[in-house]
Subunit: 213 residues, 2 copies
């Protein structure tokens, strides 16, 4: 199967496989069946076999998957060793929390800088990364291209920020704002973390709506 | 359609409708067609009509939806005015960031307290909410039942925390940890925000995998 033909559902399950396999490796387990990986990941063995076969021939019937080999392949697929660079828009509580709690460094992601408008924050550093004024973003992207733009706050207009990222050659946007981004063309790709939607769909379920699994 | 028969995909789109309708109301718009709501939300008019019809008869052909009425109905569906209570496990950067940046108060969600293990944090308050030691959680849930447990950190064992929430009568868990929660039975319902999975599926797309929309 060609890289571009793999469905986004499969793409979204790959990091989950990585997490499970990393836990298994840390426990010293070197081989696992699709049934065993199913118990770890909460997915069915057939979904796992189908997902992994999209990327090539990993498992052997009756023997299962070699944890180390599969991990190495998934690291390649996820681009974990590609040395991606990122900038974060918004050096407030969410941007700060993300920088300190998300394992960017562990996986070779270099967060170069923050952008904000607050005069008390601009000019400082957050966990070693300088905070610039948002008005400098476009020029900086031209001078030093980055791979990933992380939007933690609507500073001004989300449409303008998206345009700046797009024109500045950013390849992917991790969007924490409550706004749907309008992208013209194929890039940047967008991954949304709509916390509002996540929390209130939980409330909706508590309120009695929706099927239980 | 019965409440419990509505699919989780529909449930997950309801907060998005709320966000769009709130923006429209703030602009003074009092009526909108499914086509207009489609442009705002990035969904197709037929998906919108189908989703909303699961909850009853809202729109009128040729006239569209009354923004105010639909908002009021969605507030009911999402349980926004139900006065839900919540506790947050982990008073570190992510828990802090969430408390300060997420609009709990605006939507009537009362975050009663935090739980942590760090002796430097336990005994303090975070944005007015006291930080207790995690060992007190089970007893507190028995004394003062809460609706929602928010897991921002693996403090000890996620399985133990899940069990405590479950036995303490918590109705829903908002899970930010990297672990899949094991729930026995129908409650609590779980909504996962796997930031790791979200970020690395973005990297995977940047790496050339997956269909572009």
């Amino acid at each position: 199967m060609r890289k571009s033909e793999i469905s986004s559902l499969v793409i979204h399950r790959m990091p989950r496989y990585y997490r499970c396999l990393e836990r298994l490796r840390n426990k010293g387990i070197d081989r696992i069946s699709s049934r065993g990986l199913g118990i770890q990941s909460g997915l069915t063995p057939s979904v796992i076999r189908q997902d992994l076969s999209s990327f090539g021939e990993f498992g052997q019937q009756g023997i299962g998957y070699c944890v180390e080999d599969l991990l190495r392949e998934i690291v390649e697929i996820l681009g974990m060793n590609n040395g991606y660079t990122a900038v974060i828009v918004g050096a407030g509580k969410l941007g700060n929390g993300l920088m300190s709690s998300f394992p960017f460094e562990t996986y070779g992601i270099n967060v170069i800088s923050f952008y904000d408008t607050d005069p008390e924050i601009v000019g400082t550093t957050v966990f070693g990364a300088p905070v610039h004024h948002i008005s400098e973003l476009a020029a900086h992207l031209t001078e030093h291209p980055v791979d990933i733009g992380i939007l933690t706050e609507d500073l001004g207009s989300v449409d303008d920020l998206t345009k700046m990222f797009s024109e500045g050659g950013v390849k992917g946007i991790w969007n924490f704002t409550n706004t749907e981004l309008k992208i013209k063309g194929e890039e940047p790709v967008v991954e949304n973390v709509h916390l509002f939607d996540s929390f209130f769909s939980l409330c909706c379920s508590i309120n009695g709506y929706g099927r239980r699994c």
